[in-house]
Symmetry: C2
Subunit: 546 residues, 2 copies
């Protein structure tokens, strides 16, 4: 009986840091050899540059740096693992065309390169901007097994899978950088099982881990057998090496069942995505920690819990900035949560600044009544305070507005929208509540009253969100149909929603594109985040209707 | 002898406003018929949706709206111009695939559709995200001439031009939405002349006009004869109908020489682009006018001139917001320019707000020395004042930072970067000077001392830009090589620049991506603006070097 040990390197490369990623790859192969006596080590898609490298691909210096990295890998790995086959993802110019490649290294020599055939150019993906599609399969024989190399979208597309099987692959080995969205793990497994059964071959799926700007990669690398059953499932949200042993009888390669991490529940999985996105943004950017406004409301309360889980309480600083409209229970709940989580906490009343602005503007505004200008002013004074603390102490301002608010523009530009990163940017308000409740089942993190009281921006006397917006279950249902579903106003009404609500919401979404364009990045967790996913004009004459 | 009158409809559609664009198109055909007895009227690329419609293309309601527009055009135009051939640009789903189309209407019937073959997916273009490429030529015979229909990139690519000629076209008729960048008009004519000569056919180039978010379309529609000589050149930066008469001898169609607008000088052309971009953003968004900070420096002085030229003095409001570091000549020059141009003008000293913030932050900052935090605070107080005026009076804040500053992050997020639109966003500082001098040759608009004094942000005592940056000639030369040229630091040094300067500048550019990501949009006028043109990661481990 033949056997082969394949190690999936589920790692977190830093975009652009080719030298650092190369060094980490060499160490991973060393560990795979030492710990698992690996015959094969497989990395994720575009591992050497990180994913997505975007326009870094266009830089003159990209090719020489990659060439140097490939040479270094070949020389160093040959010394300690000359019999280990390494499958590595990187981009490259070949005959003047740029490809998304998987290179195969053995015994100090690069033996072949596979060029990704199916290039995604939808949702968050822009691969046609950079790459030409490959046309040929690559099947490499090693330790008696023929490995068919594929990259990410090839597996979703299907045609390259069948091509590889026809070219003689025993095992399909795929390199991936598959961004997370809610419920994607289960969706992936259904699809990969279909592919495995279509060609009666085992499938190896190696995914990246970690956050990169608005994207998070969830790991959960997989091995499925030829019947589509999961043999090995690597942890989600954790970098590491995961071995799988394949055995062959009569040339039929079968993965031995190994560790199978459970598929996480939606709330836990989403929460981990938010923690990972925030943590990696802060750490990879080199911030000492975060500072954030704590209002006594649920968005900032959940954001604080996420920040503490991501960075530790000693790297999180909260500021309560009360004004006349701040309820006593808001002050009490903010203080209680800060103490509960053990974060730094300050109270800075904003009245002196608000009054100074009002006095300076009085002449210019004379004869004009109060409106949202005065509400925005409060919010902007808070923004300026947070940014001053950020500048002085090297802490990134964490923004806390949720997707429902970002959608309808229920947020103040340069006010509560200031900051470097927003963990809740793609989380609807109804999900904010679900996550807050789930988080409290793990350990007390958010005072109960913050979850149960009616939401308010507290920018005017006795203000409640429901004064100017439909209830959040209705709002979110309309938003999901409009944003994720691209449905027309009339189609949403036909699905059972109130005409006035729908037209109001749809107009607000379109009108507030200018605000979102200046918003901080945040973790994308749906199929249509407010980022590279959704590209709308600001100047826009589209009217709601049919 | 045969003849044919073709009218180029160089118009300014509003993105998303299909009903409005359709109505304007019908009126344009009516006028073309009445004024010029047009045999053919040609519109620009994707005229019915405006260009670029971006993800509006993905909306469910797009297809029914387009179908309605095409029906309306057919019915209405048949009544007053049944013999006029109309060539119209629009997108469409055909057999489940979306194409960038040019439809041909005659006598109330759509007679054919051409699908764009060459889809640009680089720089600012994302056409692969939306469209499948066509494969077939379309040649339509009308009034004895065979018109070969092509769309924009087809003409740049060349292969569809040859295909159309082989399919029997006498005249190549191209629909375009060709975004402006500096020196593009001359570049276009060289290329189109080459194409005309390659196939010995006249070329008709119809371009759009007007601003759409960061893009501006400059018009300058053209007709070249089969030898590549320009027969007709429509005005730049002006919407209108431009007729051209073709005559045929022995089946050889020749455009009769007509109006030939001169190719504008660089300064004038660039200035017009900035005026057009700002004007269309403000007007198409429905703002009453603009408000802006006037500092006595050259960026705000040039921005004020642009705003007045775009909107008229009565729609422009300037605010001088002095602090301790504001020089007396800054106050005097700002006041002088406001009076010269006749704009609304207020002075709002910022000391009361700056002092209120400092007092509130004193405890938190105790023991920490002064740094850029205090400079940013001044800038942010100014931003809050401008936004308050904007909110209260319905004026858009015009941002004034130039490309050199945006590149190296010499700007304060939520401070001088607040605003809806930035006319100078893609204009290097050295060009700011050139434009200011050119503008003053037209009429006095900027006090001379503003142009000649050394630039300073005036955020600290005796501060000058040159304290922390290389001189602007050197800075801009390095930036152009790094941003437009994608050159490495070492390659720029090899081209003759100081090592320390180059490394400093290159690091600043990379490190300040986060600021640019939250910056307002502005007019793109180079081949690499800070917008959809340049897609860089914020979290980025790329290091300067080779």
């Amino acid at each position: 009986m033949q056997d082969l040990t394949l190690v999936m390197a589920q790692l977190d490369p830093l975009v652009g840091d080719i030298a650092g990623n190369t060094a980490a790859a060499i160490e991973a192969v060393r560990e795979a050899k030492l710990e698992h006596d690996a015959d094969v080590v497989v990395f994720s898609e575009l591992y050497l540059t990180g994913y997505p490298p975007e326009d870094l691909l266009l830089r003159e210096a990209m090719e020489p740096r990659l060439a140097e990295a490939l040479t270094e890998m070949a020389q160093k790995i040959a010394k300690f693992a000359p019999q280990t086959l390494v499958v590595m993802g990187y981009p490259g110019l070949r005959d003047g065309q740029r490809y998304n490649l998987a290179g195969v290294l053995l015994g100090g020599e690069w033996r072949g390169e596979y060029a990704k055939q199916a290039l995604p150019n939808y949702q968050v993906f822009d691969e046609d901007r950079y790459f030409e599609p490959g046309t040929q399969p690559l099947v490499i024989e090693h330790a008696g097994a023929r490995l068919g190399i594929l990259i990410c979208e090839d597996l979703w597309d299907g045609a390259p899978v069948r091509q590889s099987a026809q070219a003689g692959a025993d095992i399909l080995v795929t390199l991936n950088a598959s961004p997370f969205h809610l419920d994607k793990p289960a969706e992936r497994e259904r699809l990969f099982a279909t592919r495995a059964r279509e060609v009666s071959r085992p499938v190896v799926y190696v995914n990246a881990i970690g956050g990169q700007d608005e994207l998070v990669f969830d790991g959960g690398s997989l091995v499925l057998d030829a019947q589509g059953e999961v043999a090995v499932r690597a942890p989600f949200w954790l970098a590491g090496l995961m071995p799988v042993r394949f055995v062959a009888a009569d040339g039929d390669w079968r993965p031995e069942p190994g560790e199978r991490e459970a598929l996480p529940e939606s709330e836990e999985n989403l929460y981990c995505a938010l923690v990972t996105g925030l943590r990696d943004y802060v750490n990879k950017s080199g911030f000492k920690g975060v500072v954030m406004g704590l209002s006594g409301g649920i968005d900032s309360a959940l954001s604080l819990a996420i920040a503490v889980d991501a960075l530790g309480a000693d790297r999180v600083h909260a500021v309560m900035m009360p004004y006349h409209y701040t309820a006593e229970i808001s002050r009490a709940d903010a203080a209680e949560q800060a103490q509960l989580l053990g974060v730094g906490y300050e109270v800075m009343p904003i009245a002196p600044m608000v009054e100074a602005f009002a006095a300076t503007l009085a002449d210019s505004f004379s004869g004009l009544g109060a409106d949202t200008t005065e509400e925005n002013l409060q919010s902007r004074v808070r923004g300026v305070l947070l940014m001053a603390i950020s500048n002085k102490k090297g802490l990134m301002v964490q923004t806390t507005g949720n997707k429902s608010e970002m959608a309808v523009g229920y947020a103040t530009l340069y006010g509560d929208m200031v900051g470097g990163y927003n963990a809740l940017k793609d989380v609807y308000k109804t999900w904010v509540y679900r996550l807050a409740r789930w988080r409290n089942t793990q350990s007390a993190a958010i005072p109960e009253r913050v979850i149960t009281r009616p939401p308010s921006a507290e920018l005017a006397p006795d203000q409640q969100d429901s004064d100017s917006l439909p209830g959040y279950d209705v709002l979110d249902a309309i938003l999901e149909r409009y944003i994720e579903g691209d449905m027309s106003a009339e189609a949403i009404i036909a699905a059972g929603y109130d005409r006035d609500d729908v037209y109001k919401v749809v107009k607000l979404v379109d009108r507030n594109e200018y605000k979102r364009r200046q918003a901080p990045v945040g973790v994308r967790v749906t199929l249509r985040g407010f980022g590279r996913d959704r590209r709308y004009p600001i100047v826009n004459g589209w009217q709601p209707g049919n």
